[in-house]
């Protein structure tokens, strides 16, 4: 894992990618800092952090687009997959390299709250809390990016797809509120989920028996919920879509609330996408 990590970090700084990422990120943060803090004479740095989410969405695909697609394109995946390294090690090594670069960029922006603290009052615990939320949110986006990068051997395609999915995740709140509510929609979604789980298991292990069993298990759970708490389905569609919302969770951190359940959500969200990435690489081998 450390070998892959080292290689990716080297690749970031051997090419322009690392410098462009850090440069753009710090530069735009500095712009917002000047606008919101210096010109408006405000000591609140958290508002800057919540404004640069958009920038993060734009530049995270730069980090992740080539991670796996380039390996496939250059055929270097042949080296990685035929050497005594676990696929998880490969993916996690790459993931950690992206996260580290993101972290470096983020740490560099920490100079701005320090500058503010020279001239005014900064509650560092609040700022650090906001930073932590920002970091974990970024990690989620990176995990989505690395998964998309494993789907195609074209960097540009994976960059565009990553952009798109990030925008969907960004605007998911708006999407959720415009969705219709009601019992039937909730039950419909439950059925779709059962089918999806079944299909996922089928494509993973290609065994009809186990796919049916897992789909039925999920269906039974939904059934029990229906009888115990039928109200659940009234808002199920909305709740389900909202559960993907990174931004609404992040607003808690901006308010200075260190929300451990959100951290758990972010971590498991990333872990799920790393798992998907490994599956997608394995899938290519078995096709």
């Amino acid at each position: 894992m450390s070998a892959i990590f080292k290689k990716e970090m080297r690749a970031y700084f051997n090419s322009m990618t690392g410098y462009i990422f850090i440069g753009v990120f710090v530069f735009v943060t500095a712009l917002y800092f000047s606008l919101y803090n210096i010109i408006s004479l405000s000591p609140d740095f958290r508002i800057v952090l919540s404004s640069i989410i958009m920038v993060m969405l734009l530049i995270i695909p730069i980090l992740t687009m080539g991670l796996l697609s380039q390996e496939t394109k250059q055929k270097t995946d042949q080296l990685l997959l035929t050497s005594p390294v676990n696929v998880y090690d490969i993916v996690i090594g790459k993931f950690l390299a992206s996260v580290s670069l993101f972290l470096i960029a983020l740490l560099l922006t920490f100079i701005f709250p320090i500058i503010i603290s020279i001239f005014g009052n900064v509650v560092f615990s609040e700022v650090i809390c906001a930073y932590l939320g920002f970091l974990f949110m970024g990690i989620c986006f990176i995990s989505v990016g690395i998964w998309i990068s494993s789907l195609s051997d074209n960097q540009i395609i994976s960059a565009v797809l990553t952009f798109m999915s990030m925008f969907v995740l960004f605007f998911i709140e708006g999407i959720a509120t415009s969705l219709p509510n009601g019992n039937l929609y909730g039950i419909g979604l439950a059925i779709i989920l059962c089918v999806l789980v079944g299909l996922f298991v089928y494509y993973s292990i290609e065994d009809i028996k186990y796919s049916l069993i897992s789909a039925v298990c999920i269906a039974v759970i939904f059934g029990i919920v229906y009888f115990v708490k039928p109200d659940f389905y009234n808002t199920f569609l909305y709740d389900f879509v909202m559960s993907f919302s990174m931004i609404s969770r992040f607003s808690n951190f901006i308010l200075g609330i260190f929300d451990i359940s959100s951290i758990i959500f972010y971590v498991s969200f990333s872990a799920f996408f790393i798992y998907l990435t490994v599956r997608s690489i394995e899938k290519k081998r078995w096709n």
Binding site: S2, A3, I4, K6, K7, R10, A11, N14, S15, Q74, K75, T76, D77, Q78, L79, L80, L81, T82, S83, P84, V85, N86, R285, W286, N287
Partner: protein, 335 residues
């Protein structure tokens, strides 16, 4: 050392490898021979664990490549068809990275790298960026990569492609020396290369093993030459009918006119006679002059036809058209 049994690889409806079984013993150099698309690379990719077979098993030193991939893979050095190089790295950085993923300890790394760079002669390009290297040097870096960790088994997919004739000879000699303490599988579509290097040959066509034999047996087949390319001076029609009337001559194909009244023919005789004598006698009898005579090398396609017993006319026609091409590429290899 390597046990492959009932290997099948299917891509949708296409069968790339169809029920292949063979074993490779320790210290043996096995050659995969076959035209493009015969399933050589696919088989190698399966043996090295890059892709998984649809069914069948591969055992490397007793370890199953699917069940115990780490242990099996640590025994193999693999040079794929396109060397897997990170083109933005320098040679040293790249080899250093390969050492890391093959889990070479830090202390040994330097010695290992120096030795390997010496062997494949890339020490003087250590600090160059790989994308600026020539194709031959890239190939060498690829070979170096496969040698790292001193694996017991080396799998080389067309190792001499893109090299100049001098390099080809060097690499071939080198592979031969490797065979003394490694088990090697090597693929090629160049016959002379296989016969020069390998102990045993496995001929693949359309995903099936059509023949496996030792190199001696194969070259014995080769030396039984019954085809001659002759250039003769005289009347074209007379010569042609004269040759055709000869009992032991099976076919006469006219190739063209070089100089005035000088024609080229490809003459094939039946198996139990010396074609050179037959042609000589025929020339005396019919009063024409032989200006040149050289054997038509048995091409890969001929051997395919021989081993598969396909008496398909369309294939034969293709073979004859490609014969010259094949001869040329083999010639390059021999120079």
């Amino acid at each position: 050392m390597i046990e492959v049994s009932n290997l099948i690889k299917q891509y949708g409806k296409d069968i790339a490898v169809n029920d292949i079984s063979f074993t490779v013993n320790e210290g043996e150099i096995l050659g995969f021979l076959g035209p493009n698309g015969a399933g050589k690379s696919t088989t190698m990719n399966i043996i090295t664990g890059y892709i998984a077979p649809t069914s069948g098993t591969v055992k490397i030193c007793g370890y199953d490549i699917i069940d115990e991939p780490q242990k099996a893979k640590s025994k193999i050095g693999y040079l794929p068809e396109i060397p897997p190089l990170y083109v933005n790295m320098t040679v040293d950085e790249y080899l250093d990275f390969v050492c890391d993923i093959k889990k070479i300890s830090k202390g040994d790394k330097k010695d290992v790298l120096e030795k390997i760079k010496d062997i494949v002669k890339i020490s003087h390009v250590s600090n160059k960026i790989i994308k600026n290297l020539s194709k031959g040097y890239k190939q060498r870096v690829g070979i170096a990569q496969a040698l790292i960790g001193n694996p017991e088994i080396l799998i080389l997919d067309e190792p001499t492609v893109g090299l100049d004739p001098k390099e080809i000879i060097e690499i071939r000699d080198f592979i031969k020396t490797l065979g003394k303490n490694h088990t090697v599988i090597l693929s090629s579509h160049i016959l002379s290369e296989i016969s020069a290097v390998c102990d045993r040959v496995l001929i693949l066509n359309k995903g099936v093993i059509v023949a496996q034999d030792t190199t001696e047996n194969l070259s014995e087949n080769l030396s039984k030459n019954h085809k001659m390319n002759i250039s003769v001076k005289g009347d074209k029609e007379n010569i042609k009918t004269a040759l055709e009337n000869e009992e032991s001559i099976v076919s006469v194909i006219q190739q063209g006119e070089n100089e005035k009244d000088t024609y080229q023919f490809i003459v094939e005789a039946s198996e139990n006679c010396d074609i050179r004598e037959v042609i000589f006698d025929n020339a005396i009898k019919n009063n024409y002059k032989i200006l040149g005579m050289n054997p038509v090398e048995m091409s890969l396609e001929d051997i395919f036809l021989k081993v598969t017993d396909i008496e398909d006319n369309s294939i034969k026609e293709n073979t004859e058209n490609e014969e010259n091409d094949e001869g040329n590429s083999e010639g390059e290899g021999n120079e």
